[in-house]
C-alpha cells in the first residue's frame, strides 16, 4: 500500500488504473470502467471528500499536467487512491460493477472462509461503514453470513469504505441463485440446476420448462436452509459440554422459530 508512485502518465505506458490494480495489496479492487469515471454524474458529492479533487481525477484518468509541483504530488497520490476507492464503492454496486466483482468472486480473489465447516467458501469484501478513514475492509461469507478479518495485514489496512456496506448483500439480492448452499462442497456457475439435478431424472423429465421451474423453486425458498448448516459441537471425551450445549440448543430454538415464521409467511404468500 505504501509504494511511492513516481508519477503517472509519463513513466507508465499503462494507465494509472492498471498500475493501481497491479500493485501489491490491491488485489481486492476491480477495474472501474473509464466511461463510468468520466460521467460526472456518478461522482456527485465526491469533490467534498477529496482534496485537490480536479487533479486527483486527472491523475486516475491519466490527464494530469506534467508541470505539477513535487510537494503536491505525494498528497495527490493519496487523494487519487481515495478518489478511486470512493468511485469503486459506487461502481461495484452497479450492474456492470457487480458482474466484474462476480468474476473475482468466482476466482476466489478475496480468499476463502476460515470457518472449517464453510468448506473454503469464497468470500466477498465488505465495509462496516461507508465513511472513509473509519474501518478497514472485512470479508463476508455467504454461507455462514458472518464477517472475518483478512488474513494478510496488507489487506487488513485497506479502507472498508472503498467497498461499502451494501456490496455483498446487493450481489446476492441480484443473483439469488448464487447464494451458497449451507452445506456440501463449494460449487459455482450461474445456473446450479445442472449439477443439482441427477442425470437420470433429467432424462426422465424431458421438458426443459419443468427443470427450469424446479430450479426457480430451489432458489425461491430459502426459509428452511438454516437446518442444513453444519455446526461444530464441543465435546469432552465424547460428551457435550453443558453450558455450550445449552447455548447451542437455545440458538437452534431461535433458528426453528425463525424457520416456522418464514414458512408461515411463505404459506401466506408474503415472501
Amino acid at each position: 500500500m505504501e509504494e511511492v508512485s513516481t508519477g503517472s502518465g509519463s513513466d507508465y505506458s499503462n494507465s494509472w488504473i492498471s498500475w493501481f490494480l497491479s500493485s501489491k495489496g490491491n488485489e481486492y479492487f476491480c477495474e472501474v470502467e473509464e466511461d463510468y469515471i468520466l460521467d460526472r454524474f456518478n461522482l456527485t458529492g465526491l469533490n467534498t471528500e477529496v482534496q485537490h479533487y480536479a487533479q486527483a481525477l486527472d491523475m486516475i484518468t491519466d490527464n494530469l499536467d506534467e508541470e505539477i509541483q513535487d510537494d503536491l504530488r505525494g498528497n495527490l497520490d493519496l487523494q487519487a487512491r481515495l478518489l478511486y476507492g470512493l468511485i469503486h464503492a459506487r461502481w461495484i454496486v452497479t450492474a456492470r460493477g457487480l458482474a466484474k466483482m462476480l468474476e473475482k468472486y468466482k476466482r476466489a480473489d478475496f480468499g476463502r472462509c476460515p470457518r472449517v465447516l464453510c468448506q473454503s467458501q469464497p468470500l466477498l469484501p465488505v465495509g462496516l461503514t461507508d465513511v472513509p478513514y473509519e474501518k478497514s475492509v472485512k470479508l463476508y461469507c455467504g454461507r455462514c453470513e458472518d464477517i472475518y478479518s483478512p488474513k494478510s495485514s496488507r489487506h487488513g489496512s485497506i479502507d472498508g469504505a472503498y467497498f461499502g456496506t451494501s456490496f455483498p448483500h446487493l450481489l446476492f439480492l441480484v443473483y439469488p441463485n448464487l447464494i451458497p448452499p449451507k452445506s456440501g462442497p463449494v460449487e459455482f456457475g450461474l445456473n446450479p440446476r445442472a449439477s443439482d439435478l441427477e442425470g437420470s431424472r433429467r432424462r426422465r423429465v424431458r421438458e426443459e420448462q419443468e427443470a427450469q421451474a424446479e430450479s426457480v423453486g430451489e432458489a425461491g425458498s430459502t426459509a428452511a436452509v438454516a437446518l442444513k448448516a453444519d455446526r461444530y459441537r464441543p465435546r469432552i471425551f465424547g460428551f457435550q459440554v453443558n453450558e455450550v450445549a445449552k447455548l447451542q440448543r437455545w440458538q437452534e430454538a431461535v433458528r426453528d422459530k425463525q424457520i416456522s415464521r418464514l414458512e408461515e409467511l411463505e404459506a401466506n404468500g408474503a415472501m
Partner: protein, 351 residues
Amino acid sequence: MSRRTDYNTLPTGEHSLQDEEAISATGEGDEEMEDAEQEEDGYSSSTPTSTLTWITWFCSLPGHEYFCEVAEDFIEDDFNLTGLNVMVPFWKEAMEMVLDMEPDEDTSKIPDVSIVEASAELLYGLCHQRYILTRAGLQAMVDKYEAGIFGSCPRVYCNGCNVVPCGRSDLPGLDTVKLFCPNCNDIYTPPSSRFQGVDGAFFGTTFPHLFFQSYRELAPAPFYKPSSPSSTSPRSSASSSSNQPPFVNPNPYGGQKRAAGKVYVPKIYGFRVSERAKSGPRMQWMRLRPENPEELDLVDWRGHWIGEDDHYDGEEPADEDRPMEDFDPVGDIARIASSYNLSAYVRPGCA
C-alpha cells in the same frame, strides 16, 4: 529436564487478554513467529546438539509453535502410554529418539533413520494429546494461550478473542490442526500454511473444552447484554466502560468472561436486509446469545421452547423432519385421544 519451570502465577485473564488483543490487532503475532522460524533455520537435521533435547528441538521447529513441551517423566511412565505402542512403528527406537537415549548397538535392522523420525513425531504427538489434558499440560498450554501463541479468532465480532488448537479426530492421519474460538464456539483453519502439516490428533478433540472448563475465567459466558442501550453516543459508552460492574455468570461452572456478543447485521444502503428476502439473513442464530442467562432455561433439553403451543404444526408435511415432537402432557394427551378417536372411526370404514 528442559521443560520451562518459570511458571509465573496465573495473571488475571482480563488483563493479559487485552495485551494480546493489541498484539494480534496489528498482525505482529504472525511476524513474531516468522522471526522464530528464521532463528531455527540452523537446525536442519534431527541430530540435536548435546545441550538441546529432542523435545525442545521438535517444539522449536517452524510450524510446531502450538506444541508445548511434554515432561519427560510423563513419557517415561508406561501407564501414560497405554495403547500407543500399537499405533507407532519402531516403538523402541522412537522412544529412544524422543527421550535422547543412546540407541542400542544393533540399529542395523532399521533401514532409514527418517522412518524413526516419523515414528518419533507420531509418538510425541500422541503423548502430547494426552499430556495437555493433565494439570501440568493445561498449565503449559495456558501460558502459551495468554502469550497469544495460538493467535486470535478471525471473526470480526469476536474482537480478537484468543483461540486454542483443536483436533477434529483423536486418531492420527485424518485431519490437520484447527483452532477453536471459545467466544463463537466454532473452529477455524489456521491462517498460516505452515500448520497444514500438523496433525490435529496431536491436540485431540477434548483439549479445548477441558481447557476452558479448567480456566473458566478465560471462557466467555453464554449470554450477552449490550453494555448500555444508549452506547451510540461516544460519551455514554466511555463512561459505561469505565464504571462497568464486575462481570458475574450465575452458573459457577460456566464461562466467567464477558462475551463479545455482537452479531453481524447485513445492510443495503443503510437498511437492514429483511429476513423475508430470499437472500435475507438465515444464520444469525448461530452467533446469537440471550441477554440474560435465565433465557437459556426457556428451551428444554430437546431444543423446544417450554410452554409454547405454536410448535404443534406437526400435521404439516414440511415439519415431518423435526427430530421430535413437543411433549406437553396436557396438549399431547388431548391430541393422542383425538387421534385414537379418529382412528376408531376410520379403520372400520376402510376395512
